[in-house]
């Protein structure tokens, strides 16, 4: 039995008149800057969505199968996955005799268009040099096979299951986010990294079955404008981003474990010597005289493992052999962690994209240059290692 849906009218009403459903004083937003939305605790808070579906399943040990047959079945399953990925790829769509004439591609509309993003796997860091001799560190991100899973138009956001959790806003006396209330953007679900279906539960595989795709390890959400919407089964590729495009990379930061207050909140601590009695790395006072400790007070706790965005990082190099993006600077997260890469939301980048629009709604084979792409595509300011540096006088 599913709960009744929140209509869009309700969302708007809640946004415009929160005092009608909030019990406390409406002007009381939060006690201090330290109070953050993610401080609210409910059991499924930090779990990846869809948290109401169990993803992984312990492998069943079938005693009737010999090891050779088990391996053969595994290879057969992996081959089925490979075939499913290949049949839904761009090359297959272009070669199919049933292909339809290409639909009219949407135009890039300034201040309106927001494309889908890509799911990437952060691999490591490679240093490179500019043509003026300056050093730059690039993050190497691999783009796995990914397909569009679902499109949720802005009108249906209120019905969407994972957005119906109102407790964080109620408890924090805060307002709904604008992307939910304004309803300018819809949700694009993208699945990445196809894998052996035996790893997953039937419920998880069922999510992909509806779109006709093999089960994948990662499901990501992107906020996309309706003109750049992609339908289930659409292929997202490496050349969705071009060399020179500025991107935002959103990922979960490295988990540094339980950390004290000096490491976590950069507090001063106490003196190391001069008679200091057991006060070297402590917090000190927690509140004012007689008053309670306010919600959100900075204290020791687990540090890291939060979603953070590195904004406006240019793509400096693209490698087509291993499907790598070389993004300038450093992105959050440890190696082999997922990251979301999308067109930057910074204003100067949006304006530059208006002048030089990217492939809308995504890259298709017809956008390829004649002769295809070379193995490595460099930014013009970047110096490849097999070229000598020539400084101007």
């Amino acid at each position: 039995a599913s709960a009744p849906a929140l209509s869009s009218q309700l969302i708007v009403a809640m946004a415009t008149a929160p005092h009608t459903w909030l019990r406390l004083v409406p002007s009381c937003r939060s006690y201090s800057k330290a109070t953050r939305l993610y401080k609210i605790d409910y059991p499924w808070k930090d779990e990846p969505k869809p948290h109401w579906v169990r993803q992984f399943e312990a492998r069943r040990v079938d005693a009737d199968l010999t090891p050779e047959n088990r391996d053969w079945l595994r290879q057969w399953r992996l081959q089925r996955v490979r075939d499913a990925v290949a049949s839904s790829s761009e090359a297959a769509a272009a070669a199919s005799p049933l292909k339809e004439p290409p639909a009219a591609r949407p135009l890039w509309t300034p201040r309106v268009s927001q494309r889908c993003g890509l799911v990437g796997i952060k691999l490591g860091i490679l240093p490179m040099w500019y043509r003026n001799g300056q050093k730059v560190h690039t993050t190497v991100v691999q783009i796995p096979d990914q397909r569009v899973l679902r499109w949720v138009p802005p009108e249906d956001l209120g019905n969407y299951a994972s957005l119906r959790e109102m407790r964080p806003y109620r408890l924090n006396q805060s307002f709904l986010p604008r992307w939910l209330t304004q309803q300018r953007w819809g949700l694009q679900l993208v699945g990445a990294v196809p894998a052996d279906p035996a790893n997953f539960t039937a419920q998880w595989c069922g999510i992909f079955k509806a779109a006709g795709l093999p089960p994948m390890r990662k499901i990501s959400r992107f906020l996309v404008s309706p003109d750049a919407a992609l339908q289930p089964g659409a292929c997202l590729g490496l050349h969705h981003f071009r060399v020179g495009d500025c991107v935002d990379v959103v990922a979960r930061t490295v988990n540094r474990g339980f950390q004290g207050v000096m490491e976590r909140h950069l507090m001063e601590g106490g003196p190391a010597a001069h008679g200091s009695t057991k006060f070297h790395r402590k917090m000190g006072s927690a509140a004012g005289g007689g008053g309670p400790i306010y919600r959100g007070k900075r204290m020791p706790g687990v540090m890291g493992n939060r979603f953070r965005a590195a904004r406006s990082l240019p793509v400096l190099r693209v490698n087509t052999k291993h499907r790598l993006l070389f993004i300038k600077g450093f992105t959050p997260g440890p190696p082999h962690s997922y990251c979301q890469i999308m067109d930057s939301w910074m204003l100067d980048v949006r304006r530059s994209l208006d002048a030089n629009p990217p492939p809308m709604p995504t890259y298709f084979a017809e956008d390829a240059p004649e002769g295809g792409y070379p193995e490595d595509v460099y930014h013009p300011d970047l110096l490849p290692y097999d070229q000598p540096l020539e400084l101007p006088d």
Binding site: S2, A3, L10, A13, M14, T20, W21, D41, P43, D46, E47, W52, E57, A58, R60, L78, V81, R82, V85, I121, L123, G124, I125, L126, P127, W129, G133, K135, V140, Q142, P144, D145, A161, R164, E165, R170, V193, P194, A195, D196, Q203, N255, V302, N305, K321, H322, R323, G333, P334, P335, H336, S337, L383, Y385, D386, Q387, P388, L389, L391, D393
Partner: protein, 361 residues
């Protein structure tokens, strides 16, 4: 009137739930993810001590935060990465290692020339084979532009870097190599010398394109991995004339080892040199400056039991299979580099001959 709806029950599709959200147990226990196992054919991990999300506590069972439970794992495990690479075909390229397997063993000169090709000594979580192979490939590409000779800590080098403020646009520095750090494209080396009675140490990035040339003046090795103690030694040990003539050496001969033992200046020192196991310091002379307690500590440190510390050896060495793989990869690229250099020589000879015949300068 507006009514808020509760979120949907997470296991709405399942049958009867053993536990429900918000219910309070006998000892104030809060519900964990156990409800998810209700509909699963696989049995959940039942023994209490195996459930990492329950904490023994006087107030009853406490609910541990997801970070402690390891619920959210946004990383791909090494097995998942291998499966992903096998399925998609965009994994690390093993073709060069296979070619090297068919050839003879990797010659020792490769291990001397390409010391920085070894993977870094860090935990497996921070290592990636594709990134390491990219480092190696870019290193070899840079070596097509500039000749990087074999050198060790204790060798004397002359390095020329581009400097727009210098009269000839090139800045040349001669010095003794005291340190060689990091791996891959991050490799750096530090040269030390006396300039106008001032000690100068310059750290260069080996693969920086602003380096015009690296010339080896004297090939030598010392007893230590780094010569940082020369900072507290008399300046005569690191005074090298800028007009030093390069000494010839042969690649086939083993690297000569300079077994001199340096006498340090009297303390205070920049660092407790007696606690790092340096072999290149005159220890008797060093201990004469120290108190008995410090001497005992130094001797304790240098005891031979360290070579029985297996964990120390494991953590501070590159795994042998990874080192072999790296050198095989580099060996094939080294052969390609030699071919490229031969072709360049031939083409330069051709262009010389052509220019002579046509009479152009």
């Amino acid at each position: 009137s507006i009514q808020l709806e509760m979120p949907p029950a997470p296991s709405a599709a399942a049958g009867s739930c053993a536990l429900s959200l918000g219910s309070r147990f006998l000892f104030g226990c809060r519900v964990t993810a156990a409800h998810r196992f209700a509909a699963s054919p696989v049995q959940p991990p039942s023994p209490l001590h195996q459930q990492p999300h329950l904490q023994p506590c006087r107030q009853g069972r406490r609910w541990l935060r997801p970070e402690f439970r390891g619920v959210y794992k946004p990383r791909l495990s090494p097995e998942a990465m291998k499966e992903f690479w096998r399925l998609s075909g965009i994994g690390p390229d093993h073709s060069r290692a296979k070619v090297a397997d068919q050839q003879a063993e990797v010659p020792p000169e490769i291990k001397r020339l390409y010391q920085e090709a070894l993977p870094p000594i860090v935990s497996q979580d921070y290592r990636d084979p594709i990134v390491e192979s990219l480092h190696r490939a870019e290193m070899m590409r840079r070596r097509r532009v500039i000749n990087i000779p074999e050198f060790h800590v204790g060798s004397i080098l002359a390095v020329s870097v581009m400097d727009k403020h210098a009269p000839n646009k090139v800045n040349r520095f001669v010095g003794l190599c005291i340190l060689r750090r990091h791996t891959g494209l991050f490799t750096t080396f530090t040269l030390r010398n006396m300039v106008d009675q001032v000690c100068v140490q310059i750290e260069y990035e080996l693969y920086s394109p602003s380096i015009v040339s690296i010339q080896l003046l004297k090939l030598e090795r010392r007893l230590d991995d780094n010569l940082l103690y020369l900072m507290d030694a008399p300046h005569s040990h690191c005074t090298i004339p800028f007009d030093m003539v390069p000494e010839p050496y042969s690649r086939n001969d083993p690297v000569p080892v300079n077994r001199e033992r340096v006498r340090l200046n009297p303390p205070p020192w920049m660092c407790k040199w007696h606690l790092h196991g340096y072999q290149g310091i005159d220890l008797e002379h060093l201990y004469s400056y120290l108190s008995d307690k410090d001497v005992a500590k130094a001797i304790e440190f240098s005891k031979a039991y360290k070579r029985y510390d297996l964990l120390d050896q494991y953590l501070n060495r590159v795994p042998v299979p990874d080192a072999d793989y790296a050198f095989k990869d580099i060996f094939i690229q080294h052969q390609e580099l030699l071919q490229h250099q031969q072709q360049q020589q031939q083409s330069s000879k051709k262009s010389e001959v052509i220019s002579k015949l046509t009479g152009t300068a």
